[in-house]
Amino acid sequence: MKVTGVDFKGRDIISIKEFSKKELLHVLAVAAQMERRPDPHLLEGKILAALFFEPSTRTKMSFEAAMYRLGGEVIGFASEKVTSVSKGESLHDSIRILGGYSDVVVMRHPTEGAARVGAEATDVPVINGGDGANQHPTQTFLDLYTIKKAKGRLDKLKVGFMGDLKYGRTVHSLAQALSHFKVEMVFIAPPSLQMPPGILEELNAKGVKFKTIQDLKKGLAGLDVLYNTRIQKERFPDEYEYQKVKGIYTLSEKLIPLFKKDLKILHPLPRVNELSPALDGTSHAVYFEQAKNGVPVRMALLALVLGAVK
């Protein structure tokens, strides 16, 4: 499929902020094509270097699955301990050398900005598989893809976000990506974990309609999509505060009467207790589907930056 004015060949995928609405939609369309009719020869002879300076089994495996499904090969490592970086080599030099062994790089690193340094070090396209607390763009693409698939559209939706909205990078990136569309947003969290003012300002400047709310039950009203996230214990000064919040922000089957009939629930997983397994069998749950969608979305991004599809 061809869309004019969108060219991904050789491009780095570092930050979701760098994508226009047209480009976001193009990636989703290619992902849908990959899911329907994957071409097992599309990336034959191509090598992906999966450079995981910090472990992330799922991100790594879904990139590997994406590459294999298209006929490509994967080299790489799953922990910094095995690399020369642990011998004091700079990240720049490592990526310059390892990039030279491959046609495309995916890298994950615990330090913010590492992926940008990687992209500047090598000529082959670099895909950011997560750089510390900063960006994880392929997660945002798969979240968008999941919403589009579950609802059939990205416009005219009321999307709720709940849990740790202050530190959750997936939440920030998804809200920024959705700001290209006619989406109303509801941010459900205790005041100490609400969306950062900077992001709310950005949304405001873009004319996005949103509200912040503490009460989960009230926040659920009229939602088409709910993006649930884990609240991490480390964010709280003491155990008591954590226990108090943890109990309140739990999505369970008892709340079903407050759901819109076609509400779809997403969660980046893994979950702890903010999302009851009793919801798994209901029509609301799309979170396992969401995890699975990581493969076609990553197939699309790999094929696009390698210039195998337009």
Binding site: L91, P110, T111, E112
Partner: protein, 155 residues
């Protein structure tokens, strides 16, 4: 005690050739001097601060003897003194008056406020985009953290 209002000011003397940076916010005069790396300049340098001003409540002035600031240096001044005026002095007269203007990108000039930014962990030259001028907001090209005036630290 009773003569507070009449206390003599020690006026900073005029310079023959060089640059006078006027209208620096009082708290920023020394930062501007640091920013321009004036401690390594050979000519006479005087930094005056807490002077009365019509434009700012209190202002600072820097006089640099025998040195004409470059365009690039002029614009760096805007980081801490967005309203500053630069007077290029020749033979005791103002040869040229410039307004400072902040560049759109700052290369290898300030430090990122984020301790977990790659620029603070490895030998990577910093780069910031100016996302807003007033109040000042800079976005790190690497970690994407936005910092304000209070977070500014020179490299």
């Amino acid at each position: 005690m009773s003569q507070t209002g009449q206390m003599k000011e020690y006026k900073v003397s005029a310079i023959k050739n060089g640059t006078v940076i006027d209208h620096i916010p009082a708290g920023s005069a020394f930062k501007v001097a640091e920013l321009l790396d004036l401690s390594h300049t050979k000519g006479t340098i005087s930094v005056a601060t807490n002077l009365k001003s019509r434009m700012l409540r209190k202002k600072g002035i820097i006089k640099i003897g025998n040195k004409e600031l470059t365009e690039n240096e002029t614009n760096r001044v805007a980081l801490f003194a967005p309203l500053a005026t630069i007077n290029i002095i020749e033979d005791y007269a103002v040869k040229e008056k410039r307004k400072v203007s902040l560049p759109t990108e700052l290369h290898h000039l300030v430090k990122c406020v984020n301790p977990n930014c790659i620029t603070n962990k490895e030998d990577v030259l910093t780069c910031f985009r100016v996302v807003r001028k007033d109040p000042l907001e800079l976005r790190c090209h690497y970690c994407e953290r936005v910092m304000g005036q209070d977070d500014l630290r020179l490299l």
